[in-house]
Symmetry: C2
C-alpha cells in the first residue's frame, strides 16, 4: 500500500457498477433476513413490503458514507485489524438494511386508508390492499422492531459501542423528533399556509431525518469523528432536503406511470409543497443550490474518496421518479 493517499477524486467512478455491486449485497441480505422466523402471513406481508425493487437510496447512502470514512482512516486503526474491519463491514451492511426496513414500514403505514389511502406503490397494490389493513399495520410494526434486531445480532464482531450508536441514530431518525414527527406535522398542515421555514422543518423531519440518518449511520460504522463526521452530517442534511424538493417537483411534472405512484396528489390534497410555495422554477433552482451545498460539504470533509456520495446526491436531484 502506498504511503501517499491516492487522489481518488481525479478518477471517474463507475457508478453503475458500484451501485450494482452494493445493491446485490443489500438485496441478498434483505431477502435472507426479512420475515425469517415470522408467522407465515406476517412474514409474507413483511417480505412483500420490503422486497419490491425500491431504489434502495438509503442503504446506498449508508454504504457510501461508510466507504468514504474508511477511505480516510489510518491503516493502523481499521484496515489492518481484520476482525474489527469484518465487524464494521457487517455493521454497515446491517445498518443499510435497517434503514431500508424503517423506510419500508413507513410506506406501509403511510399508504393505509387512515393516512394517504393509496392503493398503488411502485406499480403494485399496496400492502393493505394485498394483505388487509390489520396485517399491514402489524407488518409495519414488526419491520420497525426488526430494524433494531438487525443492528444487535448475537455472537457478532460488531463492537457493542457501534451497535448502541447505530440504534441511537436510527431511533432518533425514525421517531417523534424525526420521521414520525415530520409525518405528524404533515398531517396537521393540510390546507394550512406554511412559511418556507415551516415547510423546510416539516421536510427535514419527514424525509430528511432518515436520509441524513443513513449517512450518519454509515459514518458511525467507520468510526468517523470531528470534522469528517460534521461534514457528512451537513451533506446528509442538504441532500435530504434536496430529495424532498425534487419529490415536490416530480409530483407536478411527472406522470403516475413514471412515478409508480399517483402523481398530482399533493396539490389534490391541498398539501403545501415547495412548488406551491416557491413556484416550479424557484423550486428547481433551490434543488440545485442544495446539491451544491452537499458537494461543498463533501469537499470540506477531508475524506479522500467521496465519489459515491457525490454521485448519489447527483442522482437524488436528477432522478425522474
Amino acid at each position: 500500500m502506498s504511503a501517499v493517499p491516492m487522489n481518488f477524486e481525479s478518477q471517474p467512478l463507475d457508478m453503475n457498477l458500484w451501485s450494482q455491486n452494493h445493491l446485490a449485497r443489500v438485496e441478498q441480505a434483505l431477502s435472507q433476513w426479512v420475515g425469517d422466523g415470522a408467522p407465515a402471513g406476517l412474514g409474507d406481508a413483511m417480505r412483500y413490503a420490503v422486497l419490491d425493487g425500491g431504489k434502495r437510496l438509503r442503504p446506498l447512502l449508508v454504504l457510501a458514507a461508510y466507504e468514504a470514512v474508511c477511505s480516510g482512516a489510518p491503516a493502523s486503526a481499521v484496515v489492518d485489524d481484520a476482525a474489527l474491519r469484518a465487524g464494521l463491514d457487517e455493521a454497515a451492511l446491517r445498518a443499510a438494511c435497517a434503514v431500508e426496513l424503517i423506510h419500508a414500514y413507513s410506506l406501509v403505514h403511510d399508504d393505509m386508508p387512515c393516512m394517504d389511502n393509496d392503493v398503488l406503490r411502485r406499480g403494485k397494490p399496496t400492502v393493505h390492499v394485498q394483505f388487509g389493513e390489520a396485517q399491514a399495520l402489524l407488518a409495519g410494526d414488526a419491520l420497525q422492531a426488526f430494524a433494531f434486531e438487525l443492528l444487535t445480532p448475537d455472537n457478532t464482531l460488531i463492537p457493542a459501542a457501534t451497535q448502541a450508536t447505530l440504534c441511537r441514530l436510527l431511533a432518533r431518525a425514525a421517531g417523534s423528533a424525526g420521521m414520525a414527527g415530520g409525518q405528524a406535522i404533515d398531517l396537521a398542515s393540510v390546507g394550512v399556509a406554511l412559511t418556507e421555514d415551516q415547510l423546510r422543518q416539516m421536510h427535514r423531519l419527514k424525509t430528511g431525518a432518515l436520509l441524513q440518518g443513513s449517512v450518519l449511520m454509515g459514518a458511525a460504522c467507520g468510526h468517523a469523528v470531528g470534522e469528517a463526521y460534521q461534514a457528512l452530517s451537513d451533506y446528509g442534511a442538504a441532500m435530504g432536503l434536496a430529495f424532498q424538493v425534487v419529490d415536490d417537483i416530480l409530483d407536478v411534472v411527472a406522470d403516475s406511470a413514471t412515478l409508480g405512484k399517483t402523481a398530482g396528489k399533493d396539490a389534490a390534497a391541498d398539501k403545501p409543497t415547495y412548488v406551491s410555495l416557491l413556484g416550479l422554477a424557484r423550486a428547481q433552482a433551490y434543488a440545485q443550490e442544495l446539491l451544491a451545498e452537499a458537494h461543498a460539504a463533501l469537499a470540506r470533509s477531508g475524506l479522500p474518496d467521496t465519489r459515491a456520495l457525490a454521485a448519489l446526491a447527483d442522482m437524488v436531484v436528477r432522478r425522474s421518479h
Copy 2:
C-alpha cells in the same frame, strides 16, 4: 456490610410500599420523557397513550429482576463501583420505561378499527377515538422508536454493551418472533380451532414475550449470567403465560367496569382462549400450576432476594383486572 448473605426470603416484603416507591420513579420518568421534543399533536397523543394509570406490570418486572440480580452480585463487582452502579440503575429505569412504551404502542394499534376496534381502554376513550386514526397510528409508531431511543442516551454511564443487549432483547420481544408475531397468529386464529400447543405458542408470543423480555432486560441490567439468568428466563416464561391464562379467565368472569375494557370480547369474537379450550375450572388450575412453576424457578435461581418477583407473580395470578 455483613460478609454473610442475609436471608431475605425469611423477612416479609412490604409489597405495597415497594410498588409505590418503584411506580413513583417510573411515572416520574415517563412523564418527563414521553412526548418531549415531539410536535404538539403527536406529543399529546403519545402522552395520552402512556400516562394513563396502567398497572405498569412490565416496568415493575424489570426493576424487580434487576434488584434480584443485584442482591446476589458480589459487592466488588457492582455495588462498590459507584459509577457502574449508577449506570446500571439508570439502565434499569430506562428499560422499565422502554418496555412500557412498547406495551402502550401495542395497545394503541390493537384498539384501532382495523384490529380490535375498541373505543374504551382503562375507562377512557381509546387514542384513535380521542385523536383520530392517523394520529393514533403515528403515535404508536413514534412510541416504538422512542423505546429504543430511551435505551441509548447520549453521555451516559450505561455501558455500551448493556445498551446493545437491552435493544436486542426489546427488539426480539416486540417483533415478528415476539409480540407482533403473536398478534399475527391471533388475527389468523379467529374462528379456528387451535390445539392447546398452538394456543400456548400464540400466547407465549403475543403477551408472554414482552413480559419475559421485561424480566430478561432487568436481569441484563444487573449483568446476570448462567443459572440465575436461565432461572429468571424460566420465571418470565411461566409468569408470562399465567398472565394470559388469567386474562382469558377474567374475560369470562369479570365485568367491563372492573376490567376497564369490554368484557366477554373473546367469546363474542370467536377467539380461542384457555377457557374455551380447557373450561373455566381447568384454566384456573392451570394458572395455579404456572404460578408454582414461576416460584420454583425463583427458588433455583440462587439469588438471595427474589421477594418482589415472587409477589409480582402472585399479583399476576390473583388480580381481578
